[in-house]
């Protein structure tokens, strides 16, 4: 047998043995470490709770606690369960025991790898205002996830000087980071509305569509009524359907009669997605005077527009009656869309029950006739 084969066999088996022993040790260490971490975290939680409750608590927190990840986990866990002055007290403890500065140090390391991410997450979770400058600095980090965590941390501590920087980066980020930046900006609330609106207005004509859409969605999530007219203006002026869809959607969320003229115009868009979104948003605004506009959209050539218009009618005062009337429309599309919306809104179930009890109204009888005539089994 050639020596080479023998050496290969021996080498492979040596690696096998090393890996086998390594696996057993890894499993054992993992088990023990998980148990110990849980125990230490519980101890720290008890200790910290005492320090939050009694200002002069005598049980000392170990001076090197910041080096222990269990302490960090305990502080973060506790941060979610307390409020008011207790948060300030916990921040003091975190600062006193160098927890924040240690995480900052880790984040600053040039080759920290995943430890840097852990540090960024921890600083975001702690939400301690002392870390605002370093998180601002890391909004430009080369690592996506660290930028996300920095924005989240800044939003968590309500550090408003960060808003412009985060908004400014929307056009430079990947989808993932942009979406997370949107979440962070939404957490800032109405403070972020003006910068976001300015970003949309400046860029809507020739900027990155995804960034503008994200900015508009974030405005919708914030729900600031005061930016509504400006969003309506964007809907009027933009020729980009993606931007129009986002603007129409936001107008539904922000609400208000000022949105209606722009939404009615959008019902005539050449893009069915814009028309469908406009119909939904008109339903969300919820004004009785728009019943006729939506009834007209029941005859739209696109199924989604008919469907959304019918669903929107259910939300409008007098909309259900209009849907019953639409069952007699000469247009089969309008009849089907109306029947579906009446079914979804529970009107069909009511009609079936009333029919069984022989007290169905004329409208309900018409709905049941329509369902029978449609050939759907069961009617």
């Amino acid at each position: 047998m050639p020596d080479l084969v023998l050496w290969a066999v021996l080498t492979v088996f040596a690696i096998d043995v090393v890996m086998l022993v390594g696996l057993i040790i890894l499993k054992a260490v993992h088990r023990v470490r998980m148990r110990r971490d849980a125990e230490r975290r519980t101890q720290y939680l008890t200790l910290l709770s005492r320090h939050l409750t009694y200002e002069n608590a005598v049980d000392p927190i170990p001076s090197n606690a910041a080096e222990d990840e269990a302490f960090l986990d305990a502080v973060i866990d506790l941060r979610y369960t307390i409020a008011g002055s207790e948060i300030e007290r916990l921040s003091e403890i975190a600062t006193t025991y160098d927890l924040v500065s240690r995480q900052e140090g880790l984040l600053r390391k040039r080759f920290g790898g995943l430890r840097r991410l852990r540090a960024a997450v921890s600083l975001a979770e702690l939400g301690n205002e002392a870390s605002a400058p370093i998180l601002m600095e890391h909004l430009d980090d080369s690592d996506d996830e660290i930028r996300v965590q920095s924005a989240r941390g800044l939003a968590r501590m309500g550090y408003t000087p960060a808003i412009d920087r985060i908004v400014g980066r929307l056009g430079e980020e990947s989808d993932w980071v942009r979406a997370r930046f949107g979440d962070a900006l939404a957490e800032f609330g109405e403070d972020a509305s003006a910068p976001l609106m300015a970003f949309v207005i400046v860029n809507h004509a020739d900027g990155d569509t995804s960034a503008i859409v994200q900015a508009i969605r974030t405005l919708a999530a914030i729900g600031d009524y005061s930016v509504g007219p400006r969003i309506a203006q964007v809907l009027d002026l933009s020729s980009n359907p993606e931007v129009q869809i986002a603007a129409a959607g936001a107008l539904g969320g922000v609400g208000g009669g000022f949105a209606i003229p722009s939404l009615i115009d959008a019902l005539a868009s050449s893009d069915w997605r814009v028309r469908a979104q406009a119909a939904t948003s008109i339903g969300e605004v919820g004004l009785a005077e728009n019943v006729d506009d939506l009834v007209a959209s029941l005859r739209d050539r696109a199924w989604w527009v008919r469907r959304n218009s019918a669903a929107a009618l259910v939300r409008l005062p007098g909309g259900v009656e209009a849907l019953y009337r639409a069952l007699s429309s000469v247009d089969p599309f309008a009849r089907d869309a109306a029947a579906e919306a009446l079914e979804d809104s529970g009107e069909l179930a009511k009609a079936v029950t009333n029919h069984r009890e022989q007290r169905a109204t004329r409208d309900e009888a018409r709905l049941l006739r329509h369902m029978r005539g449609s050939g759907v089994p069961g009617f």
């Binding site: 047998m1 084969v5 023998l6 290969a8 066999v9 492979v12 088996f13 690696i15 096998d16 890996m19 086998l20 390594g22 696996l23 057993i24 890894l26 499993k27 993992h30 088990r31 998980m34 995943l114 991410l117 852990r118 997450v121 996830e145 989240r152 990947s174 989808d175 993932w176 979406a179 997370r180 949107g182 979440d183 939404a186 994200q214 969605r217 974030t218 919708a220 999530a221 199924w303 469907r307 089907d336 029947a339 579906e340 079914e343 979804d344 529970g346 069909l348 179930a349 369902m371 449609s374 759907v376 089994p377 069961g378 009617f379």
Partner: protein, 448 residues
């Protein structure tokens, strides 16, 4: 071949390290509370699944995700599958328009529920799993669809984990695969996994190890190379519009999941459309695997027949630069190490003993070759088990020892058995072209 698998394992280890860290610290719940998280339709094909369909849907309905619907495609069941769903979810026939973007067997009716579960049931004539999935995709309202099976249990965070890949890159991501793990031996209560355990019996235990090797030591590597050849049918998130473009699943195909994955690759590469097909190991689902050699044999023969069909359909991709890494690396690898592997291994069984009997190979060389094959196979399994440690499902010494035992003995008969079945698939002709039944025990009774 084992060296190739070890290369994939090492590459996967690097990918998994990062993925594990992001899973732990990436805070998926940010997506849970975000308005930017896209909604998804969970599409389940059901054929004679009366035994477990209601529990499965209930278990799926409480998965952590901001907005999703469940679409069940009842593929002409002859048992009480539909009746049980009607009763459990207060279903009623509705007259919603159905978008037949992909051609399927005729639809009989569409039901929608009045319970808190957002469920739509498409009742259709029997057309097979792929056809039912296509019908479900047609009825789906949302832009992404999760195609799965009626007998799986979804991990609570699996949608958040996998959709993270979509949110990362919405424009390019057309499919995302997840990590499938055997459910046998685990404790399941009311359709939920309470405690994961390695099964006692040998056949499912061997599959536990196989699944760990496949989903942790191989797929992450392919995904990182952006040349993943397969998004498994048990858990695959697909961009609906992309699916429609390539015609959905191919009805009657034995490997419809791989076929669709490859169709998506080919379509995007040929049209020059940027895309990615991704995999997330932290998106975990649990499924029942065959308990007996007889059922496993049928399954493996079917899988290999599926692979053969795909290899035949996509042979033009092999070594074509036009198809990038897929054509140069992944696809030749699939042909060589998956499709032809059983033949190579089988030839080895004949050549080596023959050489030994004819005196061309002495006893020492024979033993050395066998030891080498055994040692490398073991190395591959140990690497996969180390990667599995990151997930921490099997922490008890009992589970660890069960997996180690199977890693040691699977090369002494079990592995050869699966090779023989795959050979049978290659040379068995039409007699092997059958789906067979997966004799399920039901998720409630899988603990040993």
């Amino acid at each position: 071949m084992q060296a190739y698998l070890i290369f994939l394992g090492i590459r996967s280890a690097l990918v998994l390290r990062n993925s594990w860290f992001l899973h732990r610290f990436g805070r998926f719940w940010e997506m849970l509370a975000s308005d930017s998280t896209p909604p998804i339709s969970i599409v389940i094909p059901a054929y004679n699944e009366a035994q477990g369909i209601v529990d499965s849907i209930r278990s799926m309905s409480i998965v952590r995700y901001p907005r999703f619907e469940i679409v069940v495609a009842d593929d002409g069941s002859t048992d009480e599958t539909l009746d049980r769903m009607i009763e459990a979810f207060d279903l009623e026939i509705v007259q919603i328009p159905y978008r037949p973007d992909i051609a399927t067997a005729p639809i009989k009716a569409i039901y929608r529920g009045h319970s808190p579960v957002d469920i739509t049931v498409v009742q259709k004539e029997n057309g097979g799993r792929a056809d039912a999935l296509n019908a479900g995709v047609n009825a789906a309202r949302y832009p992404y669809v999760l195609c799965t099976d009626a007998d799986v249990i979804l991990d609570a965070d699996c949608l958040l984990a996998s959709m993270r890949k979509v949110v990362e890159d919405r424009v390019r991501t057309v499919a995302v695969g997840g990590n499938i793990r055997p459910l046998n031996g685990s404790r399941v209560e009311l359709g939920h996994l309470v405690e994961a355990s390695v099964p006692k019996s040998m056949i499912p235990r061997m599959q536990s190890l196989e699944y760990v090797r496949t989903f942790l030591a191989s797929r992450p590597a392919w995904s990182s190379l952006e040349a993943l050849p397969l998004v498994s049918g048990a858990f695959g998130i697909w961009k609906r519009s992309a699916m429609v473009e390539v015609g959905g699943f191919t009805p009657g195909h034995f490997g419809e999941d791989m076929d669709l994955t490859m169709k998506l690759h080919r379509y995007h590469l040929e049209k020059g459309i940027p895309y990615r097909i991704s995999y997330d190991p932290s998106a975990v689902i649990w499924t029942e695997v065959p308990e007996t050699a007889r059922v496993l044999r049928r399954q493996r023969i079917r899988w290999h027949r599926g692979l053969m069909s795909v290899v035949s359909d996509f042979r033009a991709l092999t070594f074509k630069r036009r198809y990038g890494k897929l054509g140069i690396v992944t696809w030749p690898g699939m042909v060589l190490f998956e499709y032809l592997a059983p033949i190579v291994e089988f030839v080895g069984w004949i050549v080596i003993p023959t050489a030994f009997l004819l005196g061309a190979l002495n006893t020492a060389s024979l033993l050395a070759l066998l030891a080498l094959a055994f040692g490398i196979g073991l190395l591959n399994s140990l690497l996969a088990l180390m990667l599995d440690e990151a997930f921490g499902y099997f922490n008890s010494p009992r589970d660890t020892s069960r997996l180690l035992v199977i890693a040691l003995i699977e090369n002494l008969g079990l592995r050869q058995m699966t090779v023989a079945w795959r050979i049978r698939a290659i040379f068995g002709g039409k007699s092997t072209m059958t789906w067979g039944n997966m004799e399920r025990r039901g998720v409630g009774s899988l603990a040993d």
